[in-house]
Symmetry: C2
Subunit: 125 residues, 2 copies
DNA sequence: TGATAATATCACTACATAGTTATATAGTCA
DNA sequence: TGACTATATAACTATGTAGTGATATTATCA
């Protein structure tokens, strides 16, 4: 039972670790508006293609994104709609924690706006 | 604006990183039932005192726990009640992702049970 | 089949941080 | 004040992984 519990903690930690890198958050954010292929995501993030590919593989491995190949391209999309709820909660907590620092709430409002609802209803199904 | 957005991603990533280490999740889990001092948390986790102290400092720095000194002891408590909602959401997603693996849902049920409600109502105030 | 394009993987470097031991700091009580 | 206890910090090692350039893999189309 203690062993099981440690395995669970390990899994949860890995999940959070998947969200603990700015580039990966940027990738997830880019997918709010719908699916995109690797080339598009490479341009959007400004990273090398190899790097984007690696991050996407990690996100997919943790169930945060899903992929489907069409032609020579591979299209990625959000794997679980509740991922954004998670991010939005964190944004809220950070905004609260840093309350007083000018304009931080607005900064986060960016990622929690109308875009989300569009993407959510798409991903929910 | 692009710069601001990158700063926001950095902050969110740091917050998730704080949750991305099993020992820290164990610490937060131990605080579900109420506040504890460093010595108690050291015993509960089985780590060295120095290590626990470092993890607690990091959690405090990110607003996940709060501390108050009484005598020679320092007592830590949950900084934000919604932290557990975050963890429980992740547990739910993982359980969904691994659905089929025997007994995994029960494994996670451990950390999302009645204890949470007690701790939440305490921390909410 | 050969050329081209898109993605994934490999081998590598650089850096951040988890964990450890030893020590410093601060509070309590005789 | 000195001994004792609890916590924090410093210095260090080991390890994981983000990022890169080069290359392999796979699909498309002439």
């Amino acid at each position: 039972m203690q062993k099981l519990d440690d395995d669970a903690l390990e899994l949860v930690a890995r999940y959070f670790a998947a969200l603990a890198v700015p580039v990966r958050l940027k990738l997830l954010n880019a997918l709010r508006e719908g699916e995109r292929n690797v080339g598009e995501l490479t341009r959007l993030t400004g990273c090398t293609q190899a790097n984007v590919s690696k991050h996407l593989a990690l996100l997919a491995h943790n169930g945060l994104v899903a992929k489907s190949a069409r032609g020579t391209s591979v299209y990625y999309r959000i794997g679980d709609a509740s991922t954004y709820r998670l991010c939005d909660m964190v944004c809220g907590q950070i905004a609260k924690h840093y309350a007083g620092k000018a304009g931080l709430e607005q900064m986060f409002a960016l990622s929690a706006g109308r875009q989300r609802d569009k993407a959510l209803s798409r991903a929910r199904r």
